[in-house]
Symmetry: C2
Subunit: 476 residues, 2 copies
């Protein structure tokens, strides 16, 4: 948690950004999320926007910012004797408000009344599209907007609003995109924790070990020193499956292990790294060729990352770099300049080069990927891979993004392209047939855009060069 | 996952138990639960009732059992190429149905239609009170029942039903209360995992260590070998707070550390143990007096646990045992037979002796604590402590329950009793004043009721006698 003036300063800036808007902005904090029954909940995670503006990291809070008068109020309930028996003595809601620079606090039931009053007075009620189903129901109930419309984002100015507020989304995105110094410090910590997590994974990558065993040990590290994982760990020898969450296989010599995992700090900032290890400790020639290509793409993308360029340009240049390497390996044939705009790289890398990262590992994804990652004059590319980029914007100091190129051999996708001629004759299917059992490789770092260029976050970089990986694995 | 006939057998028995009912019984499986945004989800946990009858451990499934015709159908969607890229190839829904003995499968959208059809035909739609908010919204939408009524349980027979089905709740409770041999095997495994987890905690309990460090290491063990924790770990030197989830303190000599934690196996069966350790490795005299009293209460309760007796009787006898011990320590004064029905034990043990345990750590708690823990002729005691018992029923072979007496010194509660005279003169507040910094002690095992008596679950019992604890901690 930061100093009170961090939160009050953010709310003040939000009011300025919303100066053209009228009505109230409401923020519904998260409530406990049942794992298998109410009362047996998942570890509590506050809504990131609530945390950003109101700082309270506890369930059953809400807040209102009056866009007309500038008044603000935090809503929550003080505890009774029963709560004390089960949860211990707690600071008062008033003192929680004070800690985030909010002088006015009221019981939670008053929040419902405040929203109902605004609705009955015909004042616009600005809210962000809610991530959780409870918040969606709650907003529908309070505003009378149909459940399914609550997550729709559109300009309030045009119609007064029977949906989430585009004005508020844009204002929040513009603020959260550029990280403050205190936030960068926390992301650095999360990256240091990610470093420990990945070191544990690399040490665990030995033939005969169950994948789940490694995942558990890695996640234990994050729980010991941070809030937990920033997303469900991806750890798989089937690296060609981008988000593989099953961990029932035994580490097998000759295969590759993709580890894509990150930590969330106790203050709820994320890290997100990917490394790929040879299960036998040494790469085969075929593995090393692909590995070194992905590693050089990671380095190349980093070298291009600086203020003023767009991340779309970096993504596109990296796609070209990959195609050149694939051509050198005779996996694609022909003119790279011709195949590039046809999206041929998408067969091998069907995802984007990276995404924003902050309090959310894909920062603010629930506000809408296009609002977050694309400026108003930028359009998504229509093709697989090129069009999967989550962050295309012109880079500014304070942006935090991931750099995560990959190459995958996905049999079902290759077969589909072959069948449908999607490759326009550029793909060498004959050679590719030898890669169906290859899996995939992804290499990911977290990057801060600085005034002069960029910096890899965290105090140490996880080993990445193929020779270094082999050296370290031989010693561990 | 069990053999197909386990699931089909359960559904057949459910049909028999519901023979008097008409209409359809619907089961809505859990969907992904957003942690901070949709797509960044908590680790998936299936609804326990869905898992019990339909076995499919994946999100976005539903099922219908026709109570009139006996027909059954499992609903879910097969994957497309996009799913394959991100999640890998998946078995078909038809084969998932086959694996649980259900020959008929359809896409998920057909579930909505099946429910809508039953509603439009005026057929009763039986469902269980949903734990998750999404399921609550979904059932409200499909049935037209107001959101808040969906979790209300009442007899369908009386009014045709604008609420959850009491008949279905009772049928499910009667089945899940008595564990099958295959379930007991899984609970034994979860207990063995709980043993490893607690061993890690005991070894970590050294002065200077941060509580969170121990929690992370324990939870790492459960993730390495099982699904994870069966509930949020309680690990605290403020043991007087029954469900303390903050772990920011340093282990301090002279204090007591309460560790209440359990594992969930990969097949989703729970364990739940509590041990209390002296942070310096040795109990003080005052600590040992209370510890040995709680330990003897745990043993005494176990000795009384057998088929034919009620767990209410065991709870009440244990409360008497605790009062006798507290009287010997001069913390209460007067006739134990008089103070017992006045609930004086509740000041020291404001919770029940134990609860049912199975797929949920408080088994089936979402179906209603009284439906699960109390027979129709049993009423809850009105007082704190005596009335907090979650499982009061007459014991039968196959019941799995916890045995968890405790003694706590809760300053806010003591002050309240003193102020309000709740103790009727039985409490020696003068002596009690010396215990405000004591904390609390709880000792918990998991018990199977057998035809002859009872058995502690798991292949080894966690050390519990005070002398044994000190010996082991000296060596570790």
């Amino acid at each position: 948690m930061f100093e009170a003036n961090v939160y009050s300063g953010r709310r003040k800036r939000l009011l300025q950004k919303m100066a053209q808007a009228q009505g109230i902005a409401v923020f519904v904090g998260n409530v406990d999320a049942a794992m298998n029954y109410r009362g047996n909940d998942y570890k509590f995670r506050q809504d990131s926007n609530f945390l950003y503006y109101w700082g309270v990291d506890e369930p059953w809070f809400a807040a209102v910012l009056d866009l007309d008068s500038g008044e603000e109020c935090l809503y929550g309930n003080d505890v009774d004797i029963d709560d004390i028996i089960w949860m211990g003595p707690q600071p008062s809601v008033a003192s929680k408000g004070e800690a985030v620079g909010c002088a006015r606090t009221l019981p939670l039931a008053e929040f419902d009344k405040a929203v109902a009053q605004a609705v009955s007075q015909g004042r616009p009620v600005h809210f962000l599209p809610p991530a959780r189903y409870y918040n969606q129901s709650k907003l529908a109930e309070l505003t009378g907007i149909p459940y399914d419309q609550v997550r729709k984002v559109a300009p309030m100015a045009a119609d007064g609003g029977r949906h989430a507020s585009e004005e508020l989304v844009k204002a929040v995105v513009s603020m959260r995109l550029v990280k403050e110094a205190c936030e960068i410090e926390e992301i650095d910590k999360a990256c240091d924790l990610g470093y420990l997590m990945h070191t544990e994974a690399r040490r665990g990558c030995k033939p005969g070990v169950l994948e789940q065993e490694i995942v558990g040990r890695m996640e234990g590290v994050t729980l010991s020193k941070g809030w937990g994982v920033s997303f469900t760990t991806i750890l798989s020898q089937n690296g060609e499956t981008l988000h593989n969450h099953s961990h029932h296989q035994i580490i097998t010599p000759g295969r590759l292990l993709v580890v894509d995992a990150g930590a969330e700090s106790n203050t709820h900032y994320a890290s997100d790294f990917t490394r790929t290890y040879p299960c036998s400790g040494k790469f085969t020639t075929r593995q090393r060729e692909i590995y070194d290509l992905v590693e050089s793409a990671n380095e190349y993308a980093y070298s291009l990352t600086r203020p003023g360029t767009t991340y779309w340009d970096v993504h596109y240049a990296t796609a070209r770099h990959l195609l050149e390497g694939l051509k050198a390996l005779d996996l694609v044939r022909g003119d790279v300049d011709e195949m590039l705009p046809l999206g041929i790289s998408g067969l091998f890398m069907p995802h984007g080069l990276g995404h924003n990262m902050g309090m959310d590992v894909h920062d603010m994804e629930d506000l809408g990927e296009n609002y977050v990652g694309y400026a108003e004059d930028q359009k998504r590319h229509p093709l697989l891979g090129l069009g999967n980029l989550r962050m295309a914007r012109r880079l500014e100091p304070g942006h935090v993004i991931t750099d995560e190129p990959g190459i995958y051999f996905i049999p079902a996708l290759i077969e589909q392209w072959k069948r449908e001629g999607t490759d326009k004759g550029f793909v060498n299917y004959e050679k590719l047939a030898g890669y169906y059992d290859f899996g995939g490789i992804r290499l990911e770092d977290d990057i801060l855009v600085t005034p002069d260029g960029a910096r890899r976050l965290g105090s140490q970089r996880l080993p990445i060069r193929s020779a270094d990986i082999e050296d370290i694995m031989a010693k561990e």
